[in-house]
């Protein structure tokens, strides 16, 4: 009995050890990728087994040759890098080939990526070479200045609060006091910058390429060849994110230029226009993650390039034509147990949750975004329609019309041919 218990215990211990095993790491040559995407540079990894690398044409992207520890992470089914364990730059030149012929040879360059409005907010910029060094020094200097300004502000605020306490105490004693004015808080420091790294700047025309790293010894580095796809957009348009008043968290998108917007009468819609470009679904998905299993090779998707809230929106309907401007709006959750939102204009001290054109639906309307000169932007015109939301039975009735017509034709034929259905023989 005791032996059995000991065996079971040891089995349990072994099982526990197996579960706690760390993934097996393998030292590998990899490419670190910083690919330009419209919502910021997307960092990803191309490890073995080699995946195709996708980058956008017309925008510089970075490919960095590195040696690191690679492991397979079964939860996300991806190969990952343990950069903290090993992150060694690999020297050499990057050869770009097309149809077996070398198109260009790239040298290692220093680079940084910066986000002027902060990460995940607005455009991202890539600087390479001396410009990268200069921009990084300027960033560090600005950050230090902001840190000093913050320190001065906190000191001034501490003095202000002390003075406020003293004034309150004096007021309680009955003395006439004048309140000190609060110090001004420095503007938030939004600029974000990566550190200076080195990599190969890829900026090629659309096409299928191959890349490989040639070391200082003139040999192609084993494990470095990769397929490279440089792609561009198929169409350009103005896309609209449309926020219904009743469900502002679940907006609809009207990106296709020929799409029609159907809405209930008297519904209030908030239009947010964007410059949009249409890309291959698989290519754009793997741009941000070469190991992704998503994306359709025969599918297309619209990506928003930049907001166009600065213009005016022209509304044409039965009541005439008017041009409206975009305004900030604040969302308030309705009180009580019932769920719901109310979109209002922000009051004093309230922050705006989004900026949009407010469009109350009043029957059939045509909308178009106007540029600074008052001309409609190409691809921005959409039609808003109000369908008839009646009972379903008339639709079933319409389906019976062809059948009735057929029955009438059959009856006419029988009558014309003088035939009647023969009685069944017993």
């Amino acid at each position: 009995m005791i032996r059995t218990i000991l065996v079971l215990l040891s089995l349990l211990l072994i099982a526990g050890t197996a579960q706690a095993q760390a993934p097996v790491k393998q030292r590998q040559f990899v490419y670190g990728i910083n690919a330009f995407a419209w919502d910021g540079y997307a960092g990803s990894l191309s490890a073995g087994p080699s995946h195709t690398i996708y980058v956008l044409a017309g925008h510089p992207s970075i490919v960095s040759a590195r040696e690191t520890l690679v492991y397979y992470w079964p939860i996300t089914r991806e190969y990952r890098a343990d950069w903290s364990g090993l992150n060694a730059s690999v020297a050499g030149t990057l050869e770009v080939l097309q149809a077996g012929r070398t198109v260009t040879t790239l040298q290692l360059r220093s680079y940084i990526t910066q986000y002027p409005n902060g990460p995940d907010r607005g455009p991202s910029m890539l600087y390479a070479g001396e410009e990268a060094e200069r921009r990084y020094r300027a960033f560090v200097e600005a950050r230090n200045q902001h840190r000093d300004a913050l320190a001065r502000y906190y000191e001034a605020r501490r003095r202000y609060l002390d003075a406020l306490d003293k004034a309150a105490a004096a007021h309680q004693r009955g003395a006439r006091v004048s309140l000190p004015s609060p110090p001004d808080e420095p503007e938030p420091f939004r600029l974000f910058s990566s550190e200076v790294h080195d990599g190969f700047v890829i900026d090629l025309s659309p096409g299928q390429y191959a890349i490989r790293l040639r070391g200082p010894d003139g040999q192609v580095r084993p494990g470095s060849p990769r397929a490279l796809v440089v792609f561009t957009h198929r169409r350009e348009s103005v896309g609209f994110r449309i926020v219904p008043q009743t469900r502002w968290t679940v907006p609809e998108r009207a990106d296709e230029p020929a799409s029609t917007i159907y809405a209930r009468q008297d519904q209030v819609l908030y239009f947010q226009p964007f410059a949009a470009r249409e890309y291959n679904d698989l290519a754009y998905t793997r741009l941000t993650n070469p190991q992704s299993v998503e994306g359709r090779p025969d599918g297309w998707r619209w990506e928003y390039v930049q907001p166009l809230i600065g213009g005016r929106l022209q509304l044409s309907g039965s009541s005439g034509t008017e041009a409206i401007t975009g305004r900030p709006f604040h969302v308030e959750q309705t009180t009580g147990e019932a769920l719901g939102y109310e979109v209002v204009e922000p009051g004093a001290g309230q922050t705006a949750d989004f900026t949009a054109f407010r469009v109350p639906v009043r029957g059939h309307m045509e909308v178009a975004l106007l540029d600074a000169a008052g001309r409609p932007l190409p691809g921005s015109d959409r039609v808003v329609r109000v369908p008839r939301l009646g009972p379903a039975w008339p639709l079933g009735f319409i389906a019976l019309i062809p059948l009735t017509l057929g029955a009438a034709v059959v009856a006419w034929r029988r009558e014309r041919l003088g035939r009647t259905p023969r009685p069944r023989e017993a």
């Binding site: 089914r77 159907y262 519904q267 319409i398 057929g406």
Partner: protein, 290 residues
């Protein structure tokens, strides 16, 4: 001896390929009359209209519930379903008509007159294409009524796509005729056409579903093998079978690509001609007798 064989060869060529206008036109007229005075084509249009009504009602329900719905073309899916249904009906109807006439000995009787295999099949093709045109007008009328009742917009490209679908419909008809030419009996011919049609549509549906499943670039799993097989087979069947032409023509037209739609309709026309010639040769080889 040489003269006799030449005369025989010429007679054989005439019996297969010669087209006489009057008998062909008479056969077309009779075919249209018998087809349009039956209930079946109207029932197919009714089913297509019912399907459209169901799909549009679904859109209206979403607008009612959510207050907002953005649609490229509300009639795109109903049109795709309707044209596919009509194409399958035409292929089946053509196969049934030719196989039945052959089984009843009517084809053999026709051949005692100035009717060749090709002119017989050409008459069948023209009769079915004209029948399709009439059914298309009926379907268009039903769609217009649906658009008026629902307030959902039917775009001009929908009408153009319907007109250009005559090409794929002709291709579907010739497939039915080819099957009837190769298979003697009515029931096997009917089952073969229905099997091919359902197989092609099923393969297309499977391809769409499998294309949406995640697929890593370098890991091979059963789903990926299935997906690859579906893509490979459908890349062949979409050219060999007429239903792929329906898909290509409607997809191009509904995204506003008129040139692409015309090319797809033209390719379907070429397919119809090639398959018609093959059907005539097949009918000659298998014989006209029951």
């Amino acid at each position: 001896m040489g003269v006799v064989s030449e005369v025989r060869a010429a007679a054989r060529v005439r019996s297969v390929w010669q087209v006489s206008a009057r008998p062909t036109l008479t056969m077309i007229r009779l075919d249209i009359f018998s087809a349009l005075t039956a209930l079946a084509p109207y029932a197919v249009v009714a089913v297509a209209t019912g399907l459209a009504g169901f799909l549009l009602q679904n859109d209206l329900h979403r607008i009612q519930e959510d207050g907002l719905l953005v649609l490229g073309d509300p009639f795109a899916v109903p049109l795709y379903g309707g044209v596919l249904l009509l194409a399958v009906y035409l292929a089946t109807s053509a196969a049934m008509a030719a196989a039945r006439e052959r089984e009843h000995g009517a084809v053999e009787l026709l051949y005692y007159g100035p009717v060749s295999s090709f002119s017989y099949l050409l008459a069948k093709l023209c009769g079915h294409v004209l029948q399709y045109a009439v059914l298309l007008v009926l379907l268009l009328g039903s769609y217009v009524l649906l658009a008026l009742v629902t307030g959902l917009h039917m775009r001009e490209t929908t009408v153009l796509a319907m007109i250009l679908s005559i090409g794929p419909a002709a291709a579907a008809t010739t497939l039915g005729l080819l099957v009837a030419a190769l298979v003697h009996r009515l029931r096997p011919a009917l089952l073969a056409v229905l099997g091919v049609a359902l197989g092609a549509v099923g393969l297309q549906v499977a391809r769409e579903i499998l294309a949406r499943l995640p697929a890593p670039e370098y890991h091979v799993n059963p789903v990926q093998v299935l997906r690859w097989a579906a893509f490979a087979i459908s890349s062949i069947t979409q050219w060999v079978l007429p239903f792929g032409y329906v898909d290509r023509e409607l997809s191009a037209m509904l995204r506003g690509d008129l040139a692409g739609g015309l090319v797809a309709a033209g390719a379907a026309g070429v397919y119809a001609v090639v398959v018609l010639v093959l059907a005539a040769a097949g009918l000659d080889r298998t014989g006209i007798r029951r």
